[in-house]
Each structure stands twice: as C-alpha cells, then as structure tokens.
Amino acid sequence: MTQVIFGDRVGRQGRIRVGCIAILFDEKGEKVLLTRRGDTGQWCLPSGGLEPGESVADACERETLEKTGLNVRVKKLVTIYSSPDRLVIYADGGKFQIIGLAFDVELVDGHIQLTEETIDIGYYSLPEIQSMDIFPHHRQMIADSLAGQAAPYIR
C-alpha cells in the first residue's frame, strides 16, 4: 500500500524522485485520460518514476504505455510540481519527495486497456472530474494544460 503524507516540509524525510506525468486529451480536447491506481484507489494522470537510462520524455511515454496501453509522444512541458510538503511512502518503506514533470502528450497509436497497476481507466470531462477522487496536484496540472500558457508553470 502506498501512503501519501502531507505536512510542513515533510519531504525532508525522503529522497528526491523524478516523476513524469502525461496529460492526454481526447480528439475533441474535451476529456482527459485518467487511470485509477490499484494501490491507493485514487484517480490520477498516467505517470511514474524516471528510471536511469531514460530521458524524461522516454519515461513519460513508457509509463503511459505501461499504465494505459497507449503509445504517446511528448509535446510540451506544462508544469513542474515540487511541493516539499508531500511525502510518498511505498510498500517497501521507501520515502520520496516526488518532483513531477507534467507534459502535454499526443496519441500515436494503441487502445486503452487496464494493466496490473490500473484498476480503471477512461477519458473524463471536466465536470465529471470535479466529483472524482483525483490527486489534487494532478487536477492542477490539468488546469495548467487547459490554460494553454507557453511557459511551464513552476509549482
């Protein structure tokens, strides 16, 4: 079970990890692709940690494929999220302050499908998302993407 703890500078208790997050809208640009995590039951954007041997774009594209079955291509950096007040504790005891890089991505090919780490998946409209239990910072990234600003947000 993955735990997420919030608290003043709680990130100090962990190590830095780089996360890469994909923001993919449907063809009409009205609905965004979300997955539901098996470990916390919460909804989130397709995402995961950067591994040695890959670029940030590689990591974003690999994680999206692993979590959704879709091949995507990174287009633009939307948000850097680095709150030190959030600590992720994995089942193995590893503690991390995750610095997340959220990218607008475009679909290359593939069909959405569930994977081992994902218990639900789909495209959801903004009104639908409002009532879903979604990572708060991922909700912010979706808003950042829709704002359409060229320069990345630094959060």
Binding site: R9, G11, R12, Q13, G14, R15, I16, R17, V18, G49, L50, E51, P52, G53, E54, S55, V56, A57, D58, V74, K76, L77, I80, S82, S83, P84, Q97, I99, L101, F103, Q149, A150, A151, P152, I154
Partner: protein, 158 residues
Amino acid sequence: MSMKTKVLYGDHISKEGKVRLGCSLILFDSSRDEVLLTRRADNGQWCLPGGMIDPGETVTEGCEREFWEETSLRVHVVRLTGVYSNPNRLTVYPDGNKAHVVVMSFIVEQTGGILSLSDETTDARYFPVSEAVQMDLFHGHAEMVRDALAGNAVAFIR
C-alpha cells in the same frame, strides 16, 4: 582516486547511475549581453551556477539556495528554459558515485548580494554571451546558454 567529477558518454550509459535532479542557473547582466559563470574547484572548468535539489525544498528554493551558496548573490527564478536528461551520459563523482543527472535550467534575476567566491568556486565573473557559448564550459552548459538566448517561452525538452 580522481578528484574530478567526470562525465562519460555511451549508449544508455546512465543506466549505471542513480537518478539525481539538479538545476543550472542563468543570470544575464541588465543588458543581456553577458552571463555569469563560475569556475569549479574540482576540475577548473567554467560553468553555470547550480547544484542539486534537496529534499524538503521546492525547485525554486533549491535554485535560489544554490545560487546563494556559490556566488553570495540573492536571485529569484524567472522562468524555466529547458529540461536536460540525455540518457547517454553518466556523471561519475570523485567518491565513485554514479548519477543520471536530470538538469532543469532556469533564467534568474538578481535581487541582492555582492558577488563573491565559495569553497566550491575558484572564480566567478560575467562573460560576453558570444564568448560563453564558445568556451569549454562544463558538459551541456553551453547548450543551456544558447537555449536561454533563443528566448522561447516553451521550455526545451532535451
């Protein structure tokens, strides 16, 4: 053991290291004709000020702390100009630790302080940007200066 930080290149060689997240910081003078460079104590190369983001701080705080430690200048982050994560390079530190360093490059502006040296820095001064991009800067830093000069609002993803 070598006391210098080395950078090795090879096909996906960063697999051999741990992921680390750093920042490189670009301070232009008011005319934007010159850029501040520091000289590394460990290998004598000129480079952009910067360092690693520590747990417990935001990316912005990490940038501002590193700049202060290396130059005694107070700055604040203006914008992100690029993210650099070439998987075909590996950084090897004097202690033998190996890292796949992901670097975020930011333009900063000075808010206070007087330029001075630190333990990690043997020299610090402004160079004309035309000269800086031709110098044998630390790995990848000339590209970061060029990218910042391009003036794009969209960040480079490299």
